[in-house]
């Protein structure tokens, strides 16, 4: 039997503090395959960000474990947060190039791949801009490009469009889908928007209140490629209603 790409086993997380501890995650179990797009919905404070940090290997769990293809070492991950978190002292081009520089890839290759990526996210002409000169949406595009450029095995997105206006948000969801369709990595994305989760993902995990556990695990069987118009189909609206009822 082959090992699943990602397997989360009885994962628990308690943050120690002076007053004992804060139970944040309790008994999380799920598996995903290497091309899956997974969305996580849940009340704030239910440990969604903590789950991503555990999967990225940035935190050690209090109990349980995360297995990657049957091993304990995390694969190449790309991280995107709610804030773009660009390095303000690096230009757009240099920010996108960062993961490749750290991997020690040769200069010409870096330049080629970065230029290609900048075209893909539609930021030609902004290559040499500083992050402080970008709008929120542009900065977040750069952050996504930075996560994609290293061709990660797993992409972890923590409310990546949370600070954008509704229109930009919709457009960027579409762009993310395009990038994902081109590279087909596994994605785990935390979001607050039910419709965003349904439009983008193959599967939605719904978290309970803190301490977070998986209240529902819903497959989204909608056809790909998906378009905005999907929102108005009865299928979509049923799923949406269904999820909304669990979240309340």
């Amino acid at each position: 039997m082959t090992e699943p790409f990602l397997k989360v086993e009885d994962l628990c997380m308690t943050f120690r503090d002076r007053k004992g501890g804060l139970d944040v995650l309790r008994g999380i179990n799920f598996e995903m395959n290497e091309q899956e797009f997974l969305c996580v919905l849940g009340p704030s404070g239910s440990g969604k960000s903590t789950l991503l940090r555990l999967i990225a290997g940035l935190l050690k769990p209090s109990a349980g474990r995360v297995r990657y293809n049957g091993s304990d070492t995390p694969p190449q991950v790309g991280l995107v947060f709610q804030q773009a978190n660009l390095m303000p002292w690096r230009t757009v081009r240099q920010n996108i190039a960062l993961p490749l520089e750290i991997m020690g890839i040769e200069k010409a290759e870096i330049e080629r791949r970065v230029a290609e990526m900048i075209t893909m996210i539609g930021l030609e002409g902004f290559s040499d801009s500083w992050p402080s000169q970008l709008s929120g949406g542009m900065a977040q595009r750069v952050a996504i490009a930075r996560a994609f450029i290293q061709k990660p095995d797993l992409l972890l997105l923590d409310e990546p469009f949370g600070s954008l206006d509704a229109l930009t948000r919709e457009r960027m969801g579409g762009e993310l889908l395009n990038l994902w369709q081109a590279q087909r990595t596994a994605v785990i994305m935390v979001t607050h928007s039910i419709s965003e989760a349904l439009l983008l993902s193959d599967r939605v995990l719904v978290f309970s209140r803190r301490p977070g556990s998986i209240a529902r695990d819903v497959s989204v069987g909608l056809m790909r490629p998906r378009k905005e118009e999907l929102r108005y189909t009865p299928e979509f609206q049923n799923l949406e209603r269904n999820l909304r009822s669990t979240l309340q």
Binding site: R53, L98, I102, P131, Q133
Partner: protein, 277 residues
């Protein structure tokens, strides 16, 4: 963008030690400075004239000018200024090297900080002038003891700025570097140093002017060369023009160092001064 929150949870009373006044001065229009300089000299000349002040109290500008010309032509000024500059620069280099290494260690390790910060704070209670004689006794009247005095003078402000700079490195970027499996050295090179650089430069800029003060203090205490030594000689012989020439040279030196540090800083932190239009 407020990347550097200067509030710190450390035992040291950390404050960014900056001198906005000097930067403000440097930013004024050149010609305004020139006008005020001319006014200053004219006023000085008038005071000497109307007050009938003897030269050993306040020499006329012309007398100082004549002294300056002689001192330049016989090479005396450059010789002594060079010695002082040498002490200032080496002291600054030594002091900032030590301060940034120790500052980095303290910023990274709360344990080290708890162990050493009481000494560091206590050391600030002792004025450099009180230590300088000891250094001269221990290391002789040559340039080496002066370099140590300079290093001591610049140490603390640069240390504080280093700690503030490295503490303010955004945590999310640290996570990002870890997720990319950056080595410790790569983290230092790609994240910590660039992020701390503006604050480090702030420290260096202040250090540059403090180092000049340190050199003069050291030379006062015991030396046979340098601008501080010349001031001492001038005092002994009531050669006030000599004192004035030396003081002006020191001011010029401090301003130049400050200016150079500022220009380099602007160059390197260009991204900070560009904003969305």
């Amino acid at each position: 963008m407020a990347n550097y929150n200067h509030q710190e949870q450390t035992d040291l009373r950390l404050q960014s030690t900056d001198k906005p006044a000097l930067e403000y001065l440097a930013r004024r229009n050149g010609w305004l400075v020139a006008v005020s300089l001319v006014l200053f000299v004219v006023l000085w000349d008038r005071i000497v004239n109307w007050g009938h002040l003897p030269a050993f109290l306040l020499p006329a500008p012309q007398a100082v000018w004549k002294k300056l010309v002689t001192m330049i032509s016989n090479g005396m000024l450059l010789d002594h200024a060079w010695v002082t500059l040498y002490e200032v620069l080496l002291g600054l280099a030594l002091g900032s090297l030590l301060a940034s290494l120790i500052g980095y260690a303290l910023a990274k390790s709360p344990l080290l900080e708890k162990m050493f910060s009481p000494y560091l704070v206590a050391s600030q209670a002792i004025p450099t002038v009180a230590i300088a004689p000891l250094l001269v006794i221990w290391f002789g009247p040559g340039v080496f003891s002066k370099i140590l005095v300079c290093a001591m003078t610049v140490f603390f402000p640069i240390l504080v700025n280093t700690m503030i700079g490295f503490r303010a490195v955004p945590e999310n970027l640290g996570d990002l570097m870890r997720s990319m499996r950056a080595t410790r050295l790569q983290k230092l090179r790609y994240l910590e140093i660039p992020s701390a650089l503006p604050v480090l430069f702030g420290g260096l800029r202040i250090g540059a002017t403090l180092s000049v003060i340190g050199a003069v203090v050291g030379e006062f205490v015991g030396s046979d060369q340098g601008l501080g030594f010349l001031i001492n000689v001038g005092r002994g012989q009531y050669d006030t023009p000599l004192v004035f020439v030396s003081i002006f040279t020191l001011i010029l030196m401090a301003l130049c160092l400050y200016g150079i540090a500022m220009i380099v800083e602007r160059r390197i932190t260009r991204w900070k001064t560009i904003h969305r239009d």
